[in-house]
Symmetry: C2
């Protein structure tokens, strides 16, 4: 699981919690220095990109600060490990990062609703769903989708019974006080307020994705 | 929000994520040294118990390593801040810790299903529900209930629209691949396997809670 400065912590901790009681999970970054996550909480990787096993069962990327999609060292790491991992996975904006590393070309995938349309820039087919699986690519929607994603992945790795026991232990029986978890369900009034808060986010995201998409050739496997 | 060694990280990060984009959240512990959470991820508090404001809008305790309920310094801190906080709150095993600090006497509350019955030792009335509110006490069930709890609390603090916008931004539209999030829903087969895994957890928890309940008088406010 990739960690990075500005990561959306719940994108990481949702699936991490689902998986960690049953699997050996490494949280990796360039170094093991302290770094700040989206909400100010400081933590650190358990090992470095360099130390990370060459052959992973699962490669996972959470969302967060979008500039990570322009980080050459990270993209090379993802492209390399992703070329051999049994499962190449992401939640939220992490799908965009996988896209920038050339790992979603020709695959269906999902992402946070604010970023979903950007997947097509990377040759992926955006699908509006909580969890999307296409061959060995598994992606989750925004932030909290990481818990559903984690259960899907855990069932795939260790079987349905282990996934159900984990769901029970995490008491995952959601009962939100509101039903506003998607743009359609939130409705036009909340969406209008949301757009005001988001402001010009897309003015930054769209050109960054376009630039990343132009550079994607560097990360694609060489085929003769 | 209390942090401590062995905390269940998702108990903390669920509500933290819901609240932190709208509120000033402090994550507090005895010191700001690195400490290890339940799943091996290392992090640190943003400030110390001593630095923590005397008058809090919200006091929150997540679950985790149960020995925290026998930590005198922590219980004194909770009893003190809880006596003045606008809201005294918890998720999962955190309710037991509030109980040990004398903060749930005469209140309805909930907790993780493995610990729920222990609340009565502390003079609380256990309620099997996702989120329980009784006057200014708000508690959530196990682990993932922290997200629902967070939305209930955020609506209380800043209104329904802010809570709905946050739900939308976190894309909280749960769609679990299984429906096994409570003992009743998981069914007898999964529960039997679960009990095997849990083993003698209650043999440790029950006497620890009983001892904590016997000492509760130290933390109760002195009334004449």
């Amino acid at each position: 699981m990739l960690l990075y400065p500005g990561v959306t912590l719940l994108d990481l901790i949702g699936p991490h919690t689902v998986l960690a009681s049953n699997c050996k999970v490494h949280v990796v970054w360039k170094n093991t220095d302290l770094l700040e996550t989206d909400s100010g909480i400081v933590m650190k990787a358990t090992s470095t990109l360099e130390e990370c096993s060459n052959n992973l069962d699962v490669l996972f990327v959470p969302g967060g600060e979008f500039s990570i999609m322009r980080d050459d060292e990270v993209l090379r790491f993802l492209a390399d490990r992703g070329s051999r991992a049994r499962y190449v996975t992401s939640v939220c904006g992490g799908s965009i990062v996988l896209g920038a590393a050339g790992l979603l070309q020709g695959y269906e995938a999902t992402s946070h609703w604010t970023a979903l349309d950007k997947l097509s820039l990377f040759g992926a087919t955006p699908v509006e769903a909580r969890v999307v699986r296409d061959r060995n690519r598994i992606s989750g929607g925004g932030v909290t989708a990481g818990i559903d994603f984690g259960l899907v992945l855990l069932a795939e790795l260790l079987g349905e019974d282990v996934a159900k026991m984990t769901q029970l232990m995490l008491e995952y029986d959601p009962a939100s006080p509101f039903d506003a978890g998607t743009p359609a369900k939130a409705g036009p009034e909340i969406m209008a307020k949301m757009q005001q808060t988001l402001g010009s986010m897309d003015d930054v995201l769209a050109p960054m994705c376009a630039a990343a998409a132009r550079d994607i050739g560097q990360y694609l496997p060489v085929t003769n």
